[in-house]
């Protein structure tokens, strides 16, 4: 069983050791106003975690004492949210006397992506509300080839959507409006070597919205085109550098059709096979934590309770991915 609670999604997933996902239930915390408030989200998670676990067991047609392993997202993420999931995981693990496994959230996005798409050794573009990074496996670890230097692309989209009073969630609303846009507004494009920056883009697009000279469709169109062009460039540079045979797109922003087209075009150009992680496994979910927990356990990695404290800043490239060796 995997417990995911890094941000606004509370996810419980159940997987078998041969890679069958038996249950994947996600309960989303929707803020009344503004962005995610870590404490409010954590409160939501603790309120619903019991119920969500029950629903997952029901979906898997299992009883709690049939679970052999408890995995949880140990980081990175929002501290209060992580702690809620970790507390539940520790409690269940010690009650059932079953091993506890702390899983890196970013690693699990890649692993469930590999499982769901059958990609073997992909270069991954992982784009969500909290993360924007380009990563690939090399000598024992997932290396980070490029990442945002400030905010995530999803954060940029969400914040603009709120500023422009678009409906929640922001990404799909922007995507729909962008389809009707055609005029490209000049916006800051920031790629530094292999890294990206989106805070300047966000400030600029909000200013363009406020000055009222452009239609909302053109604003959304320009925001997508400029932001995704930067993602494309960094991904392409990393693909050219690593010469990976596969290109995997994951994270919530990976649902965007325009971004998928960009990835497809880049993959084709470099003779790589593109893969898109299905949306239920691309957004934060418990199945990815369960599956990565299994991989870790099969390679002798378990997390003793005294080392199960959460790490809100746990980097992807700190994890020894023994199962890939």
């Amino acid at each position: 069983m995997g417990i995911e609670s890094t941000a606004d999604n509370l996810g419980i997933g159940i997987a078998s050791s041969d890679g069958i996902i038996l249950a994947n239930i996600v309960k989303v915390h929707v803020p009344k106003e503004g962005g995610i408030h870590p404490r409010e989200a954590a409160r939501h998670h603790s309120e619903y975690i019991g119920e969500t676990i029950s629903r997952a067991l029901e979906q898997a047609k299992m009883k709690i004492n049939e679970v052999d392993l408890i995995a949880f997202s140990q980081g990175p993420g929002l501290g209060p949210c992580l702690r809620t999931g970790a507390t539940a995981a520790r409690a269940i693990s010690s009650y059932l006397k079953k091993p506890l496994i702390g899983v890196n959230h970013c690693v699990s996005h890649i692993e469930i992506g590999r499982l769901a798409t059958k990609a073997n050794d992909p270069l991954t573009l992982y784009v969500s509300g909290g993360n924007t990074l380009v990563s690939g496996y090399e000598s024992g670890r997932y290396r980070i080839y490029g990442e945002t230097l400030d905010i995530a692309i999803g954060n940029c989209l969400d914040t603009f959507a709120r500023a422009a009073k678009l409906e929640y969630p922001g990404g799909p609303a922007i995507e729909q409006l962008a389809l009707m846009g055609s005029k490209l507004i000049s916006l800051p494009y920031a790629v530094k070597g292999m890294d990206m920056s989106f805070s300047g883009l966000l400030t600029a697009i909000i200013n363009e919205y406020k000055n009222g000279k452009h239609s909302i469709a053109d604003l959304c169109f320009s925001l997508q085109e400029t932001g995704y062009a930067a993602l494309g460039e960094v991904t392409e540079r990393a693909l050219a550098h690593t010469k990976k045979p596969e290109l995997l797109l994951t994270g919530g922003v990976g649902a965007n059709k325009r971004l998928r087209n960009i990835i497809k075009s880049i993959a084709e150009e470099h003779g790589a096979q593109p893969y898109y992680v299905p949306i239920n496994y691309a957004t934060d979910n418990g199945a990815m934590i369960a599956w990565t927990g299994i991989l870790a356990y099969q390679n002798g990695l378990i997390t003793p309770i005294e080392k199960s404290f959460v790490d809100p800043k746990w980097r992807l490239d700190e994890v020894e991915a023994k199962w890939r060796a």
Binding site: T148, L149, L239
Partner: protein
């Protein structure tokens, strides 16, 4: 047309060797059209980076760092025609070199990176793929993402990229190579080095997640 030979297909540009460009060997760097991005963004990126790169390559020489001689610039075709440098990429040298040779090379790279920063030139893509050893000289190439700035931040981002490239590509020798690099960098920039190197530490801890001990 037979004199043209595609040497490398980079992520951004084609590097073409022209064996007979007006009677001499030359490199044509042509920024490729990227159909995945909006044509207007694409055109603008390619045109501006072409002009920019040519300007910066000139400044690099003034700073005392070897870089190719520019023969001609065609912004609308996103082309720079420049000297062909015979040699080997540093990236490809490291594996077979002795530690001693590598330390010498990385110290020299550090010295040259320091010279660039002293002249307020930001490389923008400071990696071992963009350095060529030719005879006794190490040429810096590909200033496509370069810019002129005196900001500590930009110099820090520049060095952070070098550091990250060492971690992701030359991870087996990263500490040794980084030390030699910093040694050389400090030699060129003197007391300013501390400020930039402190910023590198800060930058590598930014983004969303901090790197731990």
């Amino acid at each position: 047309m037979e004199s043209l030979k595609l040497l490398a297909k980079g992520a951004e540009a084609d590097i073409i060797l022209d064996l007979n460009w007006n009677g001499r060997k030359a490199i044509i760097k042509r920024r490729c059209i990227k159909t995945y991005r909006h044509a207007k963004i694409d055109e603008e990126i390619r045109r501006l980076r072409t002009i920019h790169e040519a300007e910066i390559i000139h400044r690099v020489k003034e700073a005392g760092v070897p870089s190719p001689i520019i023969y001609q610039v065609n912004p609308n075709k996103a082309e720079i025609i420049m000297e062909y440098i015979e040699g080997t990429k540093i990236k490809d040298l490291i594996k077979n070199n002795s530690d001693e040779e590598n330390i010498k090379i990385f110290k020299q790279i550090g010295v040259q990176a320091g010279r660039l920063h002293k002249a307020n030139i930001i490389h923008g893509d400071l990696t071992t793929s963009n350095m060529i050893q030719s005879g006794e000289m190490i040429y810096f190439v590909d200033f496509g993402l370069g810019e002129i700035s005196n900001e500590i931040e930009k110099k820090g981002v520049d060095l952070n990229l070098m550091k990250k490239m060492l971690t992701s590509t030359h991870y087996l020798k990263q500490d040794m190579l980084l030390e030699a690099f910093i040694d050389g960098y400090t030699q060129s920039t003197g007391t300013k080095a501390i400020e930039v190197l402190t910023r590198v530490e800060e930058i590598s801890k930014r983004g969303r997640y901090i790197e731990k001990e």
